[in-house]
């Protein structure tokens, strides 16, 4: 039965266009991400305009050759604001995900590796944290520590942490109960060696994927918070803030909100695609 499936799988894989298709999309996603990183580091390569310059007489110009994405209510060029905003967004995305994963790894490891009592305690903490919808948690945090980019990063990280923690814990437990860990014990390896050499590397493998995909998600959340005015104050070029600025003009100047949002979508998409590709490679091409 197994080999019947293998036969079928082998013939499916020979569909040439399928294989080519995957690579094509991934390549585009990778290119996009790399450009984003460049835009974050050297934005002036991509645009000549000053994102903060106020030019009242150019206000509300629709997209044209002069201003690719149009201008906003103060005449600022939207395209350059998007470009400069990349740095903010990527910074927030990467740091929040970093914070979220750190919390998640600590909690997940404690729960997965610790004895029954530690596990129950961790589980209980996670359940309580989970009882707060992530934005509520973030709002409470910002309410205490004020708004601004610092609290924004921590708040978003906090919101994402419980979900990741559960995944890590689940992974650690699954690996802990696996056949090869038992084999390692049977061979006579010391517990520390088993944990550091085999258990942790195997359990943490999926984290790489989570990290890549998580960045996109955190950027979305962080921009939601910025949109609500709880992140960086305007006129800082940050995609979420730009959306909130453009909100009042959505009826007649759609480009104020369309382009920043589009970039959020594209960033999230790219991180998801690249993340999936990394996951497939890590799992080794399955038969």
């Amino acid at each position: 039965m197994n080999s019947l499936n293998q036969t079928i799988a082998a013939s499916k894989a020979s569909f040439f266009w399928q294989w080519k298709d995957i690579n094509f999309g991934t390549i585009i996603a990778l290119v996009f991400l790399v450009s984003l990183i460049c835009a974050a580091v050297v934005p002036h390569w991509f645009t000549n305009f000053d994102p903060l310059a106020i030019v009242p007489r150019s206000a509300f110009e629709s997209p044209s050759l002069a201003h690719w994405f149009g201008t906003d209510q103060s005449g600022r060029d939207i395209y350059s604001r998007v470009v400069y905003g990349t740095r903010q967004s990527l910074l927030i995305g990467i740091s929040s995900t970093g914070i979220a994963l750190s919390i998640a790894v600590v909690l997940g490891l404690l729960g997965g590796l610790g004895g029954a009592t530690t596990d129950r305690a961790v589980n209980w903490i996670l359940e309580v944290l989970f009882a707060f919808p992530s934005l509520v948690l973030a709002l409470l945090f910002i309410a205490i520590f004020g708004s601004g980019i610092g609290p924004l990063i921590v708040a978003t990280g906090l919101g994402a942490a419980p979900g990741y923690a559960r995944m890590v814990r689940g992974q650690v437990i699954a690996v802990r109960n696996s056949g090869y860990i038992e084999s390692a014990r049977a061979l006579g390896h010391s517990p520390l060696r088993v944990i550091f050499r085999q258990l942790l590397p195997n359990a943490m493998r999926p984290l790489v994927v989570m990290l890549t995909m998580g960045i996109g998600q955190t950027i979305v959340w962080a921009s939601a918070l910025s949109f609500l005015g709880l992140g960086n104050k305007p006129p800082a070029p940050e995609w979420g803030t730009m959306l909130s600025l453009g909100r009042d003009f959505v009826a007649n100047a759609w480009w104020l909100t369309f382009f920043p949002g589009l970039f959020i979508v594209l960033t999230t998409l790219s991180t998801t695609i690249v993340g999936r590709y990394v996951q497939q490679r890590l799992e080794g091409r399955l038969p």
Binding site: A10, G179, Y180, A184, L187, P191, P201
Partner: protein
């Protein structure tokens, strides 16, 4: 009902560019049973599925003739196939646990066939379901019909699966390995059931890898290798006077037929080994009064193992045989010190090795001695770190033994050599290897620490017969060469018979019989042992006759 039920001429099946079945031809008369025998990858399952139009979306099925009761199967569109399936042709898969919808009561599954083909009325359908369950030998059918497959025992759910195939009295029943996932005693019962059905006039097309099971049921046998039928004819003739080399090798490989000390897989004549260590060799493993309880999902504590004791002597093989739930895997884990017993103790070469609380032995006291005992599993793949290749797996095992880093590469090659694998296998990953090769790697890892004892937990159960033969021969050679003692666990009595010096029979966690192999197989004392022996189907060439319809209902 007379005439030809199935006429197949030059059946060819392609998947994309690969041809998996080549020019297969046979006929099935009404009331006959035809068996298709082969190992995995032989194409037997694809052929079965092509007879019901479910070979798979990207398959191409061509033939000169493919007739079911005169109806041309090659020209059917999907709608016509749907009308035919279940009504005219019934299909039975292996392992009802996954072949029946796990979330639905089995009665509903049987009812479905009746509903699809608009048979009878609501009330008459329900009555029919009960009637069918009775016919296949399910006790208390009204109650069982409401239970899900996971709530029934292996035998009962397989019977329910058979009932759903029979529901509309199809002219042809196709059974793809219908007994493979079952315990020996249950297998015998299902085979008896199938025999009863064929006696009642049903036509059966049976797919199997088990020649002995086929011997019981089939009128005609087709032996298939790599998509080609290499031999066919009346069952008696094929099994007792095989013409083709492959058929002969399949018959040679059956462990139950060959006594201890003979090779299973050689193309040369059957050799007999030099004599084995004496029965009074030193005892290197002593297990006394082992007991272990486990708590089920309903929070009730049940004994998995009760009062099991045995000795293992140097260089000898103790076979532990039992069906699922007998506790044999639990015993294996206790002996390895991976599971702490609730009672009893194990001594390794006289030293305390495992002991029940409150005198438990700490793991760090055991660890220095772990090199002396190794384990190989039924599924070696899950025992390998998924990141590592073969070389890394073996290096890791050698590392524990304190082998110097500079020596490791050489040792790895030597190990691979011992298990008859090419040295370049070290760079390959387990996923790329076949089942037999993976098991050899597992064996190489097990001998890396130069142990005294290897615990073999169903090491060949998942392998094809011919591969099984090779691995068993390898284990026998290594035992002789390295003076290993084996604790060999299996549910397959034929394998146990072939490998064991002494045998321990487990039933529901208790040791019902413990004696040397010859005595056990010649004159079993306990009733369970006898019923177990009777359940094993034997090839007609052997002098044992299997009682045809002795239904021992143990449910």
């Amino acid at each position: 009902m007379s005439g030809k039920v199935l006429v197949v001429e030059n059946l060819n099946i392609h998947f994309g560019n690969r041809q998996v079945v080549r020019n297969v031809s046979f006929t099935l008369e009404a009331g006959q049973t035809v068996a298709l025998v082969g190992e995995s990858g032989s194409g037997k399952s694809v052929i079965a599925r092509s007879l019901i139009g479910l070979a798979g979306g990207n398959s191409r099925v061509t033939a000169n003739t493919l007739l079911y009761r005169g109806q041309n199967l090659l020209t059917l569109n999907e709608r016509k196939w749907q009308s035919l399936r279940g009504r005219e042709i019934g299909f039975i898969l292996q392992d009802a646990l996954v072949s029946l919808d796990p979330l639905r009561p089995v009665g509903k599954e049987i009812l479905e066939v009746l509903e699809i083909h608009d048979w009878g009325t609501k009330t008459s359908r329900k009555a029919r379901v009960i009637e069918l369950l009775e016919r296949v030998g399910v006790p208390e059918p009204t109650v069982r019909a409401l239970q899900r497959p996971d709530q029934l025992s292996g035998g009962l759910r397989q019977r329910a699966l058979i009932a759903s195939a029979l529901a509309l009295e199809p002219g042809l029943i196709i059974a793809d390995e219908p007994t493979t996932a079952l315990d020996a005693t249950v297998q015998a019962q299902i085979l008896a059931l199938l025999k009863k059905l064929t006696n009642e006039g049903n036509s059966l097309f049976l797919i199997s890898h088990d020649l002995a099971a086929v011997a019981q049921l089939a009128d005609k046998v087709l032996v298939i290798q790599n998509g080609i039928v290499v031999e066919h004819g009346p069952t008696h003739q094929v099994l007792q006077h095989p013409q083709h080399a492959y058929t002969k090798s399949l018959l040679d490989a059956a462990p139950a037929e060959h006594p201890r000390g003979t090779r299973l897989s050689s193309s040369r004549q059957v050799e007999v080994r030099p004599s084995r260590p004496e029965a009074n060799a030193t005892v290197i493993l002593e297990a006394r009064n082992l007991a272990k309880n486990y708590v089920g999902p309903d929070h009730v504590s049940r004994p998995a193992v009760q009062d099991v004791s045995f000795d293992l002597r140097a260089g000898r093989t103790l076979g532990i045989v039992g069906e699922s739930g007998s506790g044999k895997s639990t015993v294996a884990r206790i002996v390895l010190g991976l599971l702490e017993p609730d009672g009893g103790s194990v001594a390794l070469k006289g030293l305390p090795w495992v002991s029940a609380p409150p005198n438990s032995i700490a793991e760090r006291d055991r660890r220095p001695h772990r090199q002396q005992i190794s384990i190989i599993y039924q599924d070696p793949l899950s025992s390998f770190d998924p990141r590592w290749n073969v070389g890394q797996i073996l290096s890791d095992a050698l590392d524990v033994g304190g082998v110097a880093k500079s020596e490791i590469a050489r040792e790895v090659s030597q190990l691979l050599n011992k298990v008859r694998l090419a040295p370049d296998v070290a760079t390959r990953r387990p996923l790329e290897l076949s089942g037999g090769q993976r098991q050899r790697v597992a064996i190489a890892r097990a001998i890396a620490s130069r142990p005294l004892i290897i615990v073999c937990d169903e090491p060949v159960s998942a392998l094809d017969v011919s591969v099984q033969a090779q691995v068993l021969d390898l284990l026998a050679d290594l035992q002789e060469e390295l003076g290993l003692a084996y604790l060999f666990i299996s549910h397959d009595l034929g394998v146990i018979r072939h490998v064991s010096d002494e045998v321990l029979v487990l039933h529901h966690g208790e040791a019902v019989e413990y004696t040397n192999a010859e005595d056990l197989f010649a004159s079993p004392k306990h009733q369970y042992t006898r019923s177990l022996l009777n359940s094993v189907p034997r090839l007609p060439s052997a002098h044992n006759r299997v009682p045809a319809t002795e239904l021992l209902c143990d449910e």
